[in-house]
């Protein structure tokens, strides 16, 4: 634990960025190497302030780019320390090369991604194009829907990634501005509780262990590369066991329960949307409105985006008639990522709900309760008609003529 304690109130009003920083402070990190970018800047800015004020015993390294930030993290993790950083959008894009190094080298660390649109056109607001950019990077990817969850998932992330059966880096996603710059009630743990939960860092194959000199970042060609990637994938797939354990332990400590797939009113839902991010919480209000109209709506959100909970999400959708997979990212010439995942999840299951793909909210375009209700009403009509209304994919909330693709 850091030598200087910060007394926290039972309830604090923090935005998502401060929630991330506070969890990082409590996790007693050895090295944070960072380069600021909107909207994640306050995560490292707050951290630097805590460091300057003596609340952080570890090192804080300002570097010259996000590529360098992640490289610094990789170096420090290989040396044998607990490390973390934060970024967004273009910064993440610059980091991507090194993300694959971190996961391939099996170095646990925590990366807070404050989700923001990728240029061009330049945009600082939230969408999930950067989240999707990390899809195949081999990191565990956790999603949050409110500042409280940002705090909670950060604490869990260290514990998951550092577990000896996992040893993988972990991303914690939050919506730019809608979570990162939105202050809400947060019920934090005190420093000791949080630090004890995260636990002491246990190095593995550390470069600073002089009794066992080691080389990291080696080259393998067709002789060993496949085996190492297989081993890495196996660790990622089997991390579910540790994730479940950590979630259970966190629930015992905080009373807050987390699942691989979150859902609201899915027990008897006939139509559903599948989402990521803050839309999950807003959609619950829309579900309540729909229920008043007699429409049995539900909402499903992916908490653990990687490893993808294929079975859990499929089970969740077995009894619905129509599902809209809502992707907050420009799909780049195909259906959106969620649509891909969900249709893949359902294909080998008995259920065959109508499955559509909605592209929404790009560059921070507001997703209102009213529009969510409209989406539910459309889904309801499709469910009643027993077929999709013309196409698989459509854009919602964009000005101009209707955009629809993949006619059915």
């Amino acid at each position: 634990m850091n030598s200087k304690i910060m007394e926290l109130n039972k309830v604090e009003v923090w935005d998502g960025n401060m929630a991330a920083t506070q969890a990082m402070r409590q996790a007693d990190i050895d090295v944070v190497a960072a380069y600021p970018i909107t909207p994640s800047t306050p995560v490292v800015e707050n951290y630097a302030t805590f460091h300057a004020n003596g609340y952080i015993d570890g090192e804080f390294v300002m570097v010259e780019s996000e590529h360098a930030a992640m490289s610094g993290c990789v170096g420090a993790a290989a040396a044998g320390g607990r490390v973390a950083t934060a970024t967004s959008s273009q910064g993440l894009a610059l980091m991507v090369e090194v993300l694959y190094q971190a996961s391939g080298m099996r170095l646990p660390m925590v990366l807070n991604i404050v989700n923001r649109a990728l240029a061009s056109p330049l945009n600082v607001n939230g969408d999930h194009s950067d989240l999707y950019l990390t899809r195949d990077s081999g990191w565990i990817s956790l999603c949050t829907f409110s500042p409280q969850e940002v705090y909670d998932m950060n604490l869990c992330a260290f514990k998951i990634g550092e577990h000896m059966d996992v040893r993988l880096p972990v991303i914690v996603n939050q919506d730019g501005f809608l979570s990162s710059h939105t202050a809400q009630n947060i019920y934090p743990l005190q420093d000791k509780e949080a630090c004890d939960f995260v636990g002491e860092y246990k190095p593995l194959n550390a470069m600073l262990d002089f009794s066992r000199p080691v080389t990291h970042g080696v080259q393998t060609e067709e002789d060993w590369h496949f085996e190492h990637k297989a081993k890495q994938h196996d660790a990622l797939m089997n991390s579910t066991k540790v994730i479940a354990e950590v979630f259970a332990e966190f629930e015992k400590l905080s009373g807050r329960k987390y699942n691989f797939v979150e859902s609201y009113k899915m027990e008897d839902a006939e139509i559903a949307i599948v989402v990521l991010g803050t839309t999950y919480e807003s959609a619950q209000l829309a579900v309540d409105k729909m229920r008043e109209e007699g429409i049995k709506a539900g909402v499903v959100a992916i908490r653990v985006f990687r490893p993808f909970p294929l079975k859990e999400v499929s089970d969740m959708l077995q009894n619905v008639k129509a599902v809209a997979c809502m992707d907050r990212s420009a799909p780049g010439g195909s259906v959106g990522a969620l649509y891909n995942e969900i249709s893949g999840a359902l294909f080998n299951s008995p259920a065959r709900p109508l499955l559509s793909n909605i592209i929404y909210g790009l560059g921070g375009r507001d997703m209102t309760i009213g529009v969510l209700c409209d989406i539910y009403r459309d889904l309801d009509a499709e469910a009643k008609a027993g077929k999709l209304n013309g196409s698989i994919q459509r854009f919602v909330g964009v000005r101009g003529p209707e955009l629809k693709y993949y006619k059915v």
Partner: protein, 135 residues
Amino acid sequence: MSKSIHDMGWDELVLGAAVHSFKEEIDYNPSQVLPENRDYAETNSKYKYVGDWRVFKPVWNTDLCIHCQFCWLYCPDTSILSREKKMIGFDYDHCKGCGICQEVCPTNPKSIIMFTEQTEEEEALNQWPEKKGSK
């Protein structure tokens, strides 16, 4: 760890492709132990023969060498063997024939000269050039 890495499946490899230098934990400072006395692991480059990458090989002329250690310092493959600050020869298992040692050798004529791989050492020494006059 007695099993060779060549017989291992994905499940048996060291995670992250981390490569340990030695077979076991060590309780000595390796810089104070001669390489031949270090218990290197199978995956150490010590056991990786790359001598056949070479087209030209360095030949050393002991009569001319002043043991300045330049070649030892500059060799990118740690293939200059030296003991007690005296050059003693080449590690031809790892020397790739880059010619840097010849380049940095300060004597006149050079104490290291590159010859084709098939040239015998004696033949090479017989062909050694004369001292170049300064103009």
